[in-house]
Symmetry: C2
Subunit: 388 residues, 2 copies
């Protein structure tokens, strides 16, 4: 990672720190270290507002540099700052939504005179607008994601279950370079690589706040495929996350086993229409709630509102920022007045679940440009019959 890029990212955070009169940040969560240091370490980035940042590293033991200090424990940090003549912060920012209660207090105690504030929202705000290098990573991810999806029909075999189909698609993604790991913000959110949903399993509510649910294969992971046979007349939605370089691309496509009932194609078209309409609206300055409300109006007019984003339990969003985690800012949801900005990257996923058939709809990843949007996951969006 080139240093000017890291300096730019750190300075994006510093702008918000200055607005809130925060003297220094101590950053230690993996995705935030990846963002500010270009790699994951076991350690800390100490970033004063008006002085160069320093890295305090526990592991690995092969990282060196002028402003890199090897430590065994965070309690060594204040002494090193004193040795180097650096002032202690008056207001220190820690990752309050991400650090455990125990660890937050341990780190806050390093600077007992400082006022300690939660820096997570501020770092997430900085991360929500991507740099050119981050956007280039997303371009590469979108291409690889689409390439893997292009091979999906080749791994379908008659008589497969949803989970067997998922396993073959996971392999395609991994062979295309997907790292597999699926990073999510929020300690109670978890999924393996994504979900493959067919038939009525798509109607099953889950404990997780994803767009759709599914029973999963075991009560220990109640999300996604549950071993349902891929049967004639059912749709199957593939929503496997892409993580080809740390940046999570998001893409869903729908397949069918033979011909579906006509209303499935009608519902699918409604989702494509919603996508088309919203994408035509999106440019810097458009707010998230407006987009959400437009989608709800369209799906209501079309008569599918009871099946939109689930049935018995409906997700209350139609899109979300993506980045180093699958759920970044902003969320395209009701009451979110946040405006889109150039450089934001987001997934838009209008989906309808039809009882007796399964899920239809689409999901793509997009970048907000100066004039509108650019699609990252370029690939056909029609329902593909796996039997043809």
């Amino acid at each position: 990672m080139v240093l000017p890029e890291l300096k730019m990212r750190r300075d994006k955070i510093r702008v918000f720190m200055a607005q809130q009169h925060i003297d220094a940040a101590l950053i230690t969560c993996n995705v935030n270290l990846l963002y500010t240091c270009g790699q994951i370490i076991s350690g800390y980035l100490y970033m004063p507002l008006h002085a160069p940042a320093r890295i305090f590293v526990k592991r690995p033991n092969n990282i060196t540099g002028e402003l890199v200090h090897s430590i065994r424990k965070p309690e060594q940090i204040p002494d090193i700052l004193i040795e180097d003549g650096l002032p202690f912060p008056q207001t220190l920012m820690l990752e309050g939504d991400e650090l455990s209660y125990t660890e937050y207090n341990r780190l806050a105690f390093l600077f007992p005179e400082a006022t300690v504030v939660n820096g997570t929202p501020l770092i997430r705000k900085a991360r929500s607008v991507k740099t050119e290098i981050e956007i280039e990573n997303f371009h590469r991810a979108g291409i690889a994601h689409a390439k893997a999806y292009g091979k999906i029909p080749s791994v379908y075999r008659e008589g497969m279950t949803d989970s067997e189909f998922s396993i073959e698609i996971e392999r395609l993604m991994r062979l295309e370079g997907c790292l597999g790991i699926f990073r999510i913000f929020g300690r109670n959110m978890e999924i393996f690589m994504g979900s493959v949903l067919t038939g009525d399993n798509a109607t099953v509510p889950s404990p997780y706040d994803f767009a759709l649910g599914g029973a999963g294969l075991d009560p220990s992971l109640p999300i996604g495929a549950n071993g349902t046979l891929l049967e004639e007349g059912r749709s199957v939605m593939v929503d496997i996350g892409g993580n080809f370089n740390g940046y999570m691309s998001d893409m869903s496509r729908v397949y069918s086993i033979g011909r579906l009932d006509d209303k499935a194609y009608a519902a699918h078209q409604v989702c494509l229409d919603i996508q088309e309409k919203l994408i035509a609206m999106i440019k810097p300055g458009v707010n998230c709630e407006t987009l959400y409300n437009t989608a709800i109006e369209m799906v209501t007019t079309a008569g599918f509102s009871d099946y939109f984003m689930g049935i018995s339990q409906q997700a209350k969003f139609i899109g979300h920022g993506i980045g180093l985690e699958i759920n970044e800012m902003p969320v395209i949801a009701p009451y979110v007045m946040q405006e889109l900005e150039q450089g934001m990257v987001f997934a838009l996923e209008p989906k309808i679940v039809l009882p007796g058939i399964g899920p239809v709809g689409v999901e793509n990843s997009w970048i907000v440009t100066s004039m509108g949007v650019e699609k990252l996951t370029n690939f056909g969006e029609e329902i593909v019959d796996l039997k043809s």
Copy 2:
């Protein structure tokens, strides 16, 4: 899940609560809900010391029962307790090592009169001794894990890289029923399904505190396979985690591409000898440090201490408890005076890394019985030549 089992698990926690004069626990982290409720929900288990536990559930919306309350937010919990005439706790336990700082404070604020303490160590202590049903889950996991490993030679192709080999093994594990998700305690620990290490990549230190490292494919996940070709004369260690029912079985086996240098077989035998010696020692009452020190003495006598558990960065443990997370209590490490107890389940993984060759050694999962130990991952432990 049968209720007597859940009652037993909850009462195991209550015993420790009583010792520490804790009136009630509010549990909301996924693995702890899985342990106490038999399934993952988005919600809370409120567990008084001397009254039946209650479930407050946000998602999914299809869980019902006499002591189940549907809520939108945790702030509703105190009002429901008042309505039902339940006293507020004087000392409340929250999951302080697992909840974020923000969420811990939000929950603590529900009971402003209560003294709030960190319950994570206590819950982990309860979880470290498994029930018969948990042990039965581990038995099934060990069998499935060994069955998948039995197919590993069949997916080897000449000219493969470590990551291509890993992808095929991941698929074997998934087809055998592995849920894929790899749960770890500690917010900075992460890995995909496990690691496949060959040649000098096994010498590369990582930021994560696993037994071995590896550079990984990308700075965003610096662990495990890095695209190294599986070459003649190199060993390859497969350490893919098993999660077939929520319980993480742990198993490593070593393969070779053709014949290895003699010292590889000698080092491998040292690891097998260490395993044999320690397993003969293990029974309830043996402490972890004694086991660790015995291993260090043996590997030192054999002349491999500089290569034990890594080279430039050596892991300071040789085994660890396993359960709903891969790293449960106890840790078999220096200065750990904790004694093993009947019902504990652990992984033992003496491993040696040889420059120019790769890793050798073994890892199995074991249950502490009344008299000794029982092996869960029954499978040949010799180095298997993939070319033969």
